[in-house]
Structure formats: structure tokens, C-alpha cells
Amino acid sequence: MNLHDLTITKAKDMLIKREISSSELTKMYLEKIAVLEPKLNAFVSVTKEKAMMDAAGADKKLVTGEDTPLLGIPFSIKDNFNTKGIRTTASSKVLDTYLAPYNATVVQKLERAGIVLLGKTNMDAWAHGSSTETSDYGVTHNPWDLNSLPGGSSGGAAASVAADETLAAIGSETAGSIRLPAAWCGVVGLKPTYGRVSRYGVIAMASSTDSPGPLTKTVEDAALILEVLAGKDSKDATTSPLKPKHYTQLMKEGRKMTIGISEDYFKGVDSEITERVTEALDVLKAKGHTIKNIQLFDPQYAIDVYTILQRSEVSSNLARMDGIRFGNDRSYFAQEAHRRIMLGTFALSSGYYDAYYKKTQKVRTLIIEDFKKAFESVDVIIGPTTPVTALPIGATKDNPMFGELMDVLVEPSSIAGLPGINIPVGFSAKGLPIGMQIMGPQFAEDVILDLAYQYEQETNFRKLKPNL
């Protein structure tokens, strides 16, 4: 069987018709992982035994005709999600031996939906970065070019999907950590509205923007996973009481939309990326959508807002890593955590709080209001996901702002808590994937999925695969 053509939707169908068992499917993925991991390093831990047990359990249920939304489907989960009884490191040596005593809400929901857990994926340590290069367990290699970065922080997640080491992956985004690696690895990456998916049990990075979400091969698979994950959680007070929608159904409505385009989102962007995104817009125009030029707050300022917000929240969140109740002591933090904890501590410290943190919170208000105004005249906003295609391994060295510069186009919507999706729109001359993002108003996941799905139906990029 060709794993590359397999999607969750197709696999579900085959499992229900019993053309394949979950155990057979899981074994194929584990074999693929064994062959590819020496080249890719997308996983921190492969949970082989648990995977085979999960699969055997799913097969039993399938035989009795029991059906849950993701029954028997192999998944990878980013290593910052607490998974009960399984090592959970967030790719930092501080948590090298930490065995999670409980499940994150996302993990609990996925398990109830029937997934098979293949393993925990590599990431920038504590999700601090956009490359996976800050992982204490080595960099992940981009499946499209092993000398290139996969992006980050959910780099292992994106690489595992692109290389068919898993059928789908769970990542988390604070500002770009799903969309950017999805763009660099040529997969679909959905960052839901802040508060749509519970953060309970996700090792906190920036609590006011952290958003768990799926990385998949198709838009439909992403919608299906969101349907499982979305909803209020009494353990996360920031989750919304709004009822989740039937995303898989609503994404097929084929709505005609007004698409907002802002010139500032194309400034300094590689010409190849601009070309591919423009072609994608032409495809959408031909489908009857309207393109409208809009003015948005210069995304450059979002870098500064995000830098202060994120560093401040990081310094506060990582204060709990004391090596007393779990993990190693603070001498195990590596360089990038040092940079971020230090800047955050400085920004929150007496005498500087007003000048930095407070100022930032005010500019954040301006960015939110700016998006609100924009969404009065457009349904969605489209732009490139990243300013450049995947950079060579080593690119982050000595650049404390690397992540922010790479994430410039996704940070504004993250700061505003808006949903966004990356979809593949082609390749560079060097054969590296290019991604386009669709951003929507709060809780309009159904709208961005609808447009993403319409585009996907017109193109074949997802059918191409890396030569590994």
C-alpha cells in the first residue's frame, strides 16, 4: 500500500471496511519511522509498544462495529503535550527523564477518539524557535532537502507528516509554530483561534497565545481533527464557551468570499513565494472569489510586540522549572531559554514594566482593532506564510531574533488570537515547498477551511512527495 496517498478519511474507510487492520497500518508506519529516523530525527521518542497496543485495541473495537472519529488512526504528538506514562521533554534536557503523570486535554480527547500514538515529535526546546535547531535532541531535517531546516517549533510534527512517518500530527502554535513548519515542509497546518482548543497539559510557552492544532496532508483531515479537539475545557479557563462547529461539513459549503490582501505582507518576501501566492490567488479568482486590497498594521511592529509578550510570559512560565517536583534543575537550560528568560525577566522587572510590557499590551490592542476593522470589509485575509523558503541547517546560529524574523507574517494574527491555516501552493526552483496562509476572524475556522478546501480541490501539490 502506498502510504503517501493515504489520508485519515481514506484510512478510516479502509479500516471500517476491514481492508486493512489498524495493527497492519501501525506496523507500516513504525517500519517507515525505523528506516527514516536516522535521516530525519523527527521524533524524540517512538512509542512502539504503546502504538501496537493502541492498534490492537482499536482493531477489537472495529470488529465489533464500534466507531469513534479517529479509531485506529496513527498519530504523532509534539513533545510538549503531557502524555501519561510517556516521557515528555519539550525537547529540553531539563525534562529529560520526566514521565508525564497525566494527559493533556488534547491527548485525552484524541485517545477517546481512538488514535494510535506512534511517538512524540521533536521541536525547538520549550517551543522557543522556528527551526527545531534549538532542540536539545538534535535538529530535525527537512524531508524535501535534508540539509535544510524543517521550520519550527513544530518541526518534527511537520516533517513526520511530510515524510509519511505518520498519518497526522498534533502541534502547537504560539506565533507561527504550526504554520511555518507546515509551509517549509509542504503540509497543511491549522492554528485555531486562541481559546478554541484547550491548553491544559501543554507545557506552557506564552499562555496568552498558545494554540494547539493539527498538521495534516489534507484540509479535510485538519477539519476532522479540529472537530475532535475543539471545545470548552473546565481545566483551561481561557477556552471559549462557544459551541464548536461541524467543520468537516461546513468546509464543503463552497462559499464565495471577499479576500483581503495587504501589500505589507509581501514586502521583503522572496519573489518565488510572491509568484506562487499570486498564482494561488488567480486560482481563487477564477473560482469566483473577489480580491480586495486592504491596509493592515505593519507586521514589522508585531515582531516587537510578540518579542516582549512572549519573553515575558516565558520567564514567568519557566519559573516553575526548579527541579524539585520534576525534571532537572535550572542549570540544564540551554542558550535560547537563557536569552528568553533573561529578556522576559528584564521586561517585567521593576522600573521597566511600563516601558516594555505595558507598552506592548497597548500596541496589541491596536493590532486587534486593526484586524477587526479589516474583517468588516473582507471575509478572510491571505498572504504568504513565510518570507523565505526553508533555510539551510545552521541558519539560526548567533541570531537571537531568527524566529521572529521568520515569523513576521504570522505573528500579527497570533497576537490577535485569530485562526490561520497554511496550505501548500507550490515549490521553489530548488524544489522547496511554498506555503500560503488564510487568516480569518475569531472562531471562523469553518470559513478558512472552506476556502482552503476549495483551493486544494483545484491543485495537486499535496500529491507530490519528497524523494527520501
Binding site: 527523564t97 520526566y98 514521565l99 503523570p101 497525566y102 486562541y194 481559546g195 496568552s208 473546565s234 479557563a237 481561557t238 471559549s240 464557551p241 514589522q300 511592529y301 515582531i303 516587537d304 510586540v305 518579542t307 516582549i308 520567564s315 519559573a319 526548579d322 527541579g323 524539585i324 517536583r325 520534576f326 525534571g327 535550572r330 542549570s331 537550560f333 542558550q335 537563557h338 536569552r339 528568560i341 533573561m342 529578556l343 525577566t345 528584564f346 522587572s349 522600573g351 521597566y352 516594555y356 505595558k358 507598552k359 506592548t360 499590551q361 497597548k362 500596541v363 496589541r364 490592542t365 491596536l366 486587534i368 537571537p400 531574533m401 490577535a416 488570537g417 475569531q442
Partner: protein
């Protein structure tokens, strides 16, 4: 830990050229981060570089703007005060390096007065 930072003043010392200096030793102490002496200079340079970058925000007038702490517009989230099963004592302690009779062992932070 030897306190070699107490003689320092604020973190930022403005000189005539308004170049900012961050007292990294003092910040490291606040953050309880054991940073190696040889890394301090690099860290100081990087922090100052970053602060210089974010200082662009001063170009934006925010005099009439309120602060955003959360994007959810939710406030005062409460729940019924019902006890639900949570971690057992064993589970809560399973990752601790030092335990004693079902408790976490923590480092001494207070010292007895020496006569």
C-alpha cells in the same frame, strides 16, 4: 551562591549617547539562572540588541489606548467547587528526585542564626 551583584544599581544605565546597558548579572539573579561567566558578555550583547529592536514600538502613539491582557473577552470564569479525582500522592511524587515520607524534599532557603 555568591552575591556579586548587590553593588549594581538599576539594570539600565543611560550614558550620554543613550546607549542602553543591561545588567545581565542582576537579571540572571532575579531569574534564578546559573549562567556561566564566559556567556555573560554574549548574553548582554544579545539582550541589548533585542531591546534596541523592540524600542521601535516607541514610534507608535498609544496614549489613548487600553491594554490587552487576553483576547478571549472572557472574565471571572468560575466553576462549582466540587472535588474531582486528581493525581494520587504517588503520581504527584513520581518525578521528584528527593522525597521523604510522601513529601517533596526542597533545598534549605532559611538559615539558622549563628551566634
Amino acid at each position: 551562591m555568591k552575591d556579586d551583584t548587590s553593588h549594581m544599581g538599576g539594570f539600565l544605565i543611560y550614558n550620554m549617547n543613550m546607549n542602553k546597558k543591561i545588567d545581565v548579572k542582576k537579571v540572571a539573579k532575579l531569574a534564578e539562572l546559573p549562567i556561566k561567566e564566559e556567556n555573560l558578555e554574549r548574553l548582554e550583547r544579545e539582550l541589548e540588541q533585542t531591546v534596541e529592536h523592540v524600542d521601535r514600538l516607541n514610534n507608535i502613539d498609544t496614549s489613548d489606548v487600553g491594554e490587552t491582557n487576553t483576547v478571549t473577552n472572557l472574565s471571572n470564569i468560575t466553576r462549582d467547587d466540587i472535588i474531582e479525582p486528581s493525581l494520587t500522592q504517588e503520581e504527584a511524587l513520581q518525578n521528584a528526585k528527593h522525597t521523604h515520607k510522601g513529601f517533596f524534599v526542597v533545598p534549605v532557603i532559611l538559615k539558622e542564626a549563628v551566634e
